[in-house]
Amino acid sequence: MKDRLMGLLARWMVKLVRALARMPDARLARLLSALERLLRLLGGRGEDLVALIELKELAQSDPEGMTLLRNLVLESRDGQILAMLGGTLKHHAFGKPPGKDLGALQPAVRGRGRLLRLGIAGDHYDLDLLRRAYRTLDRCQDVAVPAGDAAESESALERVNGLEISSPSLATREFVHRSLSRGMAVSLHYTCFHGPEELQPVLQAAGRNGRERLRIFHPVLYYPPVVRLKSLLDQGRLGEVCSIRIRATLGGAGSRRPAEVPHPERYLDHPAFDQFLLMTFLGGCVEKVTAYLNPMNPERGGQGLVNCKFACPGRYGLLECAYAPGLYVPSDHFPHDLEVEVAGTDGVAWLTRGMGTRTQSAPLRVRVGRKAFSIGVESGLESDWSSAYSSAAGEMLRMVAPGGVRPLLAPEEGLSAYRLRERAYEASRRREVLAV
């Protein structure tokens, strides 16, 4: 009900603004004069009314200027007018706004539902971290699912109700279909597929019911600062989001474990640079893409830029990839430095870290209207990279519980991300802007 009323009010505000913009200059000047007198009576001072006074003077004496200002209003999107009005009222018109409770973070793990008997198939760094996260859950038993032996794999399936797969050989339509048919939840590591043409048949085989228990797993989507950032965006805290920039830099030192050197040409597939799921998670569907992708050299490094226009009007994204072999990025995992900046009509937010810990600043820094705040450990925001795996493990537990929750990301969104990645390669080769 409240949302409907707010929507109605918003529509009327836009209509009012457009009606004022259509008013003849003389009438508008009289209206602004009257408004100025009223505000002065209410205690308004000269310096507070300077914009109103100037507008009144323009209406009285500058018809060409007024035409330009009219065009400014009448040829804008409703959303822009609303964002401007709403943000001004919220952040500037009435002094400092009251603080808003961001709400308690959901714990990454909840012990509820029946025991998760987990099959883990494959061999991947992320899977090791997931295994460790699952082992901390007292309602989980894990069962290895051999990737090579079909009979043993089938046998293992009978004993599990949740399945983590990182092995491409098991991420097949048949195996996934059989697993889902047994009623279990299935998590597919995003590196299982080289492109949308490999994921598509798996989704089709899953069917409508099966898809609700199928997830595409990418740790960055479960990383608590990313989850919190997404929450800020969904709540409209930054207003209309217009810009999303993801900077992914792979260093050459700083962790015990060396990073895999990127492929010279197909480096967008490298986990350090494959941030397309994150891009679509934060910004939605991408409509167009263009790119410059320079080759990467193991000794000298390399770089690529992927530029996106989202389907949402007025929203753009940039994925900046850099391989810097001489760069030291301290990390307990790989020397990968991740930074995300999201800007909207009302504010800007920065995610300052991911796997690497190059900076000690709070993981999330936000500027909205007149407010500036950081979200870190004192707000209960866990920022260690391993917390992403705890969150993901907890989600699996909830997926197999009675009533079962849907995964964070619908598997179709995984398809969008793979498509976007492939189109980026093609856009760079063809030196064109391509529709996705």
Binding site: L68, L69, Q80, T290, G302, L318, E320, G326, Y328, R358
Partner: protein, 363 residues
């Protein structure tokens, strides 16, 4: 000075306590503004006729600080009168005008420079020193960010910006071509000429070319650049000048440089941060007031004349920046990759036909 509008108090401040040059005459069509500047600045000679300035043998340097589409006329006439000329950016509103200005400078005994002050901004000057010294190795990417806002700075009269609005219909949007000129100038100043560009430019409130997301490739280095323009009208950005969040991030093979402010100050970060070899070095004591860029930039021209040396920005470099700006606008307009070398005025007019159908500028 020809033109004593909103930006010129920053010029005036630069000449204070500067023996090599002083302001001796002012010219503007707006008599009320002219009288105000005369009182505020204590300059005796004022006129509404710029030809009086050009005829005065006691005047050596003429500053052209007028609306963009008048630059060429004033610059050419001042050069033909034998004056040294400093023209505010952007240089001109067409490549043809730019060529005319360059040709006039070649014929004249006077010199021509285009005043683009960002290249003189102390944190940017320091960043360039660090790059040249190889502190972060070979540059991989450079990113410019402009987040523009309405709140946080002094009130800028609507009239100051009204005349700029129709320029957007001609491919000369405020964010990419006008204010963007500063960022594009620094982009070339730091890493050299541009090979090709592409990207997206949107429109907000009809005339404002924001948000935008633009990328380019350099000619002489493998580095890639980007310009991210965000429309954040309700974000409070503290500033004594314009409410703009301006950042530059440079990633190199060995380190990173972050420049966190210019005209506005969104956060309390140091103006320049260097990261290398696992260490973060904060340059907190570097002068970061935007006025400092005007002081250094304005003063450099008279000094360069006296010392018979080059100064920034040359007319040829300014023409290159104009090409770069037009290339970005054309790339976004036509959805293609564009090489700045291939930009022509005819192509611009073809791509923005409405803007060139006799649309009159506000007087």
């Amino acid at each position: 000075m020809i033109g004593v509008g909103d930006i010129t108090p920053l010029h005036y401040a630069a000449y204070q306590g500067f023996p090599p040059a002083r302001i001796t005459a002012l010219c503007d069509l707006n008599e009320e503004r002219l009288a105000r500047r005369r009182r505020e600045w204590g300059v005796e000679k004022t006129t509404t006729d710029y030809r009086e300035i050009l005829r005065d043998p006691e005047i050596h340097i003429v500053e052209v600080n007028t609306p963009h589409d008048t630059h060429a006329r004033f610059v050419v006439e001042a050069l033909e009168a034998g004056k040294h000329v400093a023209c505010q950016k952007p240089m001109s509103t067409s490549l043809e005008e730019g060529e005319t200005m360059i040709a006039a400078a070649a014929r004249s005994r006077g010199r021509l420079r285009i005043l683009e002050n960002f290249v003189f901004y102390p944190p940017y000057v320091k960043a360039r020193e660090l790059l040249v010294a190889g502190e972060i190795g070979e540059v991989l990417t450079i990113r410019f960010k402009l987040g523009s806002s309405v709140f946080g700075a002094r009130w800028i009269p609507i009239r100051t910006n009204l005349w700029r609005l129709p320029e957007s219909d001609k491919g000369m949007g405020w964010a990419v071509f006008d204010d963007g000129y500063h960022k594009l100038s620094v982009a070339i100043h730091l890493l050299g000429p541009i090979e090709s560009v592409k990207g997206f430019i949107d429109r907000s409130f009809r005339y404002i070319d924001e948000p935008a997301q633009l990328i380019w490739r350099y000619k002489d280095t493998a580095a890639l650049g980007s310009f991210d323009i965000a429309f954040s009208p309700n974000l409070y950005i503290k500033s004594d000048y314009f409410s703009a969040d301006e950042r530059i991030d440079i990633i190199g093979t060995r380190g990173m440089i972050s420049l966190t402010r210019c005209t506005g100050q969104l956060a309390d970060d140091p103006p320049l941060i260097l990261y290398r070899d696992g260490r973060t070095i904060l340059f907190e004591d570097i002068e970061a007031d935007w006025q400092a860029s005007f002081t250094a930039g304005v003063r450099d021209f008279p000094l360069a004349i006296q010392e018979n040396r080059e100064t920034l920005i040359s007319a040829e470099r300014a023409q290159e920046i104009t090409r770069f700006a037009y290339a970005l606008t054309l790339a976004a307009r036509n959805g293609t990759e564009v090489r700045p070398d291939e930009v022509t005025d005819a192509w611009v007019r073809e791509s923005f036909p409405d803007g060139f159908r006799g649309h009159a500028r506000s007087a």
